[in-house]
């Protein structure tokens, strides 16, 4: 079991998350894809921590989790606010912002 397998798995998950962000139109699913990308990077940090015998990677993953939790709270509140005013969770709807 080469530990770089974990890194490759995290790269795969990160790419799946990227495709999700690019393809999906529902804001909540896009948000979940962003979470998937964050988790993939966390897995890479944890694997790096083990490869280098250093706990700093785990610390970074821990703080990423904290920031992700805060980000989810604010992001979902924004989605709910937009949904209230526009009755839609599609990310194509708020395109009036560009005018």
């Amino acid at each position: 079991m080469n530990p770089s397998n974990y890194i490759i798995l995290s790269a795969l998950l990160f790419s799946i998350g990227t495709v999700g962000v690019l393809v999906r139109r529902n804001a909540i699913v896009v948000f979940m894809s962003v979470e998937l990308m964050l988790n993939a990077s966390n897995l890479a940090f944890v694997a790096f921590a083990r490869m280098h015998g250093n706990l700093d990677g785990q610390m970074v993953a821990f703080f990423v989790m904290v920031v992700a939790a805060a980000e989810v709270v604010v992001g979902l509140a924004i989605i709910v606010t937009i949904f209230r005013s526009r009755r839609s969770a599609s990310i194509d709807e708020p395109n009036l912002l560009k005018y």
Binding site: P3, Y6, L13, L22, A49, R50, Q58, M59
Partner: protein, 256 residues
């Protein structure tokens, strides 16, 4: 903490969880309904938690289960309930060819990352965290040591971040009342002056052969009334048909 870099048990755990997490990721991206996406993501999160634990990070694995599958997924599901469970994606592309371009770019990222990382990391043995954990007596203690010494400032800033996020969510989700809340008297007047019948609607199943909720109540002349059926059933067209023979039987029974 058993931390052997090359271990068949770990390989089995890795391959099972890796397949499950990739499956969850693909399901997350491809499900039409947002609730299904959330379920797939929960699968990915839990398999990642197992991978953290097998990667000598038991604390992070537990935090992953508690924070992600517990709190974050629950938040997602709550918001899905607010926004509407049936809010599925439209399949119309606003930008032509966006989906295929995105998938192609995703494959390109896979190739670049896997090729780059795979070639640069291949053959590097894992040092393992035994030495790092040994001084403090365990992974949790070692992480606590780091948090409260080297990363103390970051930790404190994190608390400010969490408070700001909570405040932000409260401010964003707060709804201002533009007009005063109607009093009980106003509500009652509106109800009696409105077009709708102010009393209770007839219950389903009254004077009918069944008291199931989809059986309409019968009016005195034997005709069914749709008012007695709950709105969602009516909208779905799930109203049970009334057999005219049954109505005659009831009339006969009444006349006896």
């Amino acid at each position: 903490m058993i931390d052997v870099p090359t271990n068949t048990g770990e390989a089995v755990v890795f391959w099972v969880c890796a397949v499950l997490s990739v499956l969850g990721g693909i399901g997350l991206v491809t499900s039409r309904k947002a609730v299904h996406s959330a379920m797939w993501m929960a699968l990915t999160m839990i398999s990642l938690a197992v991978l953290y634990i097998s990667n000598a990070a038991p604390f992070l694995g537990m935090v992953q289960v508690i924070v992600y599958t517990g709190a974050v997924m629950m938040l997602f599901l709550f918001v899905l309930m607010i926004v509407g469970v049936d809010a599925s994606d439209s399949l119309i592309e606003t930008i032509k060819g966006q989906r295929w371009t995105a998938i192609l770019l995703g494959l390109a990222i896979v190739v670049i990352l896997v090729w780059g990382l795979g070639s640069s990391l291949a053959g590097i043995p894992a040092v393992g965290l035994d030495a790092a954990n040994r001084d403090d007596g365990g992974n949790v203690q070692a992480l606590a040591h780091l948090i409260f010494t080297q990363y103390l400032l970051v930790f404190e800033v994190t608390s400010a971040l969490l408070i700001t996020a909570a405040m932000g969510a409260m401010v964003l989700a707060h709804r201002e009342h533009w007009k005063p809340r109607p009093t009980q008297r106003e509500l009652s007047e509106a109800r009696f002056l409105g077009a709708e019948h102010p009393g209770n609607r007839p219950n389903p199943g009254i004077y009918a052969r069944h008291n199931a909720v989809d059986t309409p109540a019968l009016l005195p002349d034997g005709t069914p009334t749709e008012l007695s059926i709950p709105g969602p059933l009516r909208a779905r067209g799930d109203v049970a048909p009334v057999d005219i023979e049954d109505v005659h039987q009831i009339e006969e029974a009444d006349s006896l």
